[in-house]
């Protein structure tokens, strides 16, 4: 067994975990807990630099604008973007995909064009495309998964054609953890002249995401899944593509000149940030990313994977428990089905043991339908989880399944 203990004081860096020493939080794919430095950064911003951004020229406004733009630069650095101008702040992954679908999609898609998605996608990478497909008479095609929950690459390739205008694909399935071969997907999409949107929501907390190495055209993520605040996320888009996209929401900040005869718009990224943005949240996100950059990320990922393997090995001999999804090339999470118990009931009894997990369809109904499942229990890991927590989870699960048998 590899030593998979995280740096000892890590749990204490997270005030919620420090206040609840008995809590075993294994719902990290839904949202992670926040380290103190993130909470401190938001408070510090409000206490020392709070003003609206990009408007006034008084000193506080200059400080606020500086903090906000510095946060953008941190996101750009985190993603290895070529310039901060490629980063648009959004409320999260969902809003970022809606932005691309509405702005780029409405402007680019024509009747008969095709959008290729995969059965692994979260609803957030399906429904916005349905809206734009309906508006433009484009068609959505979905690449199938194989029985083991990996992407059926043969089927994926067969869907690509000169009609394909966009490929939307997750870096890691939020429900079962599958990590599709993204380099192959991007290369194949580009070979057919299609743009590629990569949903990095489930990947950013665990592995470095380098947009230049990925070679995609759009990449989106949420702050709250990477130890940052809720209400903030980002769209990265290649600069030439972003500058050519029309605005999608109107208001202050995104304009150049306004008259009742018409308006002209600011260049990107301001063009896509109508209204007062979530300034303190952007500062908090930057603090989270800086915190993560300072960690030994390879060691954290090894730790999280070791926890997953410890869990999956422990489950192997437990009767009536089946792991759903692949066992390699996956994010640090494990999806489970039970032969004799409903996941909801199992989760309720685990909650009595102060263990937090998620059950249901995980906003991925097409995936669960493809798998023939109506509900799964998901155990998802973060850097602060420990081997001891996994052992206590296994003991509580065994007791629960006996009780529900």
């Amino acid at each position: 067994m590899t030593d998979s203990r995280p740096p000892a004081p890590m749990r204490n860096e997270f005030p919620l975990l420090a206040r609840n020493p008995g809590l075993i939080y294994l719902d990290n794919a839904a949202t992670t807990q926040k380290p103190a430095c993130v909470l401190d950064a938001e408070r510090e911003f409000y206490e020392t630099a709070n003003a609206n951004v990009h408007r006034a020229s008084h000193r506080l406004a200059v400080a606020a604008t500086g903090a906000f733009e510095s946060a953008r630069a941190t996101v750009a650095h985190f993603l290895n973007a070529t310039t901060p101008n490629e980063v648009v702040f959004t409320r999260g992954t969902t809003e970022a995909i809606n932005l691309v679908a509405r702005s780029w999609g409405q402007a680019s898609l024509r009747p008969g064009d095709e959008i290729v998605l995969t059965e692994l996608e979260h609803h957030a990478n399906i429904v916005p495309w349905q809206f734009v497909a309906q508006a433009t008479c484009a068609t959505i095609r979905a690449a199938r998964i194989a029985r083991d929950g990996t992407l059926d690459m043969e089927h994926f390739h067969s869907l690509l054609s000169p009609r394909t205008r966009l490929v939307g694909c997750t870096l890691a399935s939020n429900a079962i953890g599958t990590m599709p071969p993204i380099a192959e997907i991007v290369a194949a999409a580009h070979a057919h002249g299609a743009r590629v949107l990569v949903d990095a929501a489930q990947a950013v907390a665990h592995q470095p995401v380098d947009v230049q190495a990925l070679g995609a055209d759009f990449c989106v993520f949420s702050g709250h899944k990477v130890y940052g605040p809720t209400g903030i996320g980002a769209l990265w888009a290649r600069e030439d593509i972003l500058q050519a996209m029309p605005p999608w929401q109107g208001g202050g900040e995104m304009i150049d000149r306004v008259s009742f005869a018409g308006s002209t718009f600011a260049p990107a990224p301001a063009r896509f940030e109508a209204g007062t943005p979530p300034i303190a949240q952007a500062v908090g996100l930057a603090a989270a990313l800086e915190w993560l950059i300072q960690q030994d990320r390879a060691a954290l990922l090894a730790h999280e994977n070791a926890l997953r393997i410890r869990l999956e090995n422990g489950l192997k001999h437990m009767p009536g428990v089946q792991i759903v999804g692949p066992n390699t090339d996956k994010a640090p999470l494990t999806a489970l089905r039970f032969a004799h118990a409903h996941p909801f009931d199992v989760a309720q009894f685990l909650d009595n043991h102060d263990i937090a997990v998620r059950v249901g369809q995980h906003c991925a109904q097409p995936l669960l339908q493809a798998l023939g499942e109506s509900s799964l229990l998901r155990v998802s890991f973060a850097a602060y989880n420990t081997e001891d927590e996994i052992d206590r989870f296994l003991a509580a699960l065994e007791e629960t399944l006996e009780l529900l048998a």
Binding site: A341, H342, P343, F344, D345, Q348, F349, D351, N352, V359, G360, Q361, S374, S375, L403, L404
Partner: protein, 136 residues
């Protein structure tokens, strides 16, 4: 004498449970006492949408009294449905409208499950039963 799945009998049994573990076990026990749901009524029309489990509900009125059959693939939800059954079956439309289901559950210390009920379909079921009583 208390009939099975009556309001006073359920109150007595849940009040005797100290803590969530005991209450959860009692709900699993109550789920076994709910009358079997007719297979012919397991239709899309009778399915209540809720993310975490599947729930079925069939309502009817017979001589001014509510008849209901209900089921779930989750035993804890089915236990909660046994409470719905005890609270509403055989009642008049007036009695259905007047019964404070949320208050009843809160009185038995089940507020936590009530909070979760938006996702488990229980809230939708109680709303549906109450609106059916208002329409009759």
């Amino acid at each position: 004498m208390n009939t099975p799945l009556s309001i006073p009998e359920i109150e007595e049994r849940l009040h005797s449970c100290a803590g969530w573990e005991a209450k959860s076990r009692m709900l699993v026990q109550l789920s076994r006492e709910l009358p079997a749901y007719p297979e012919t009524d397991r239709t899309e029309e009778n399915r209540v949408s809720g993310c975490e489990s599947q729930v079925w509900l069939k309502l009817g009125w017979n001589n001014g009294a509510l008849e209901l059959a209900t089921d779930s693939d989750s035993r804890i939800i089915k236990g909660l449905l046994a409470l719905v059954y005890a609270a509403y079956r055989g009642r008049s439309p007036e009695a259905v409208r007047d019964f404070d289901f949320d208050g009843w559950l809160a009185g038995m210390g089940l507020t936590r499950l009530l909070t979760a009920s938006r996702s488990n379909g229980l809230k939708a079921i109680v709303t549906h039963i109450r609106s059916s009583a208002s329409e009759i």
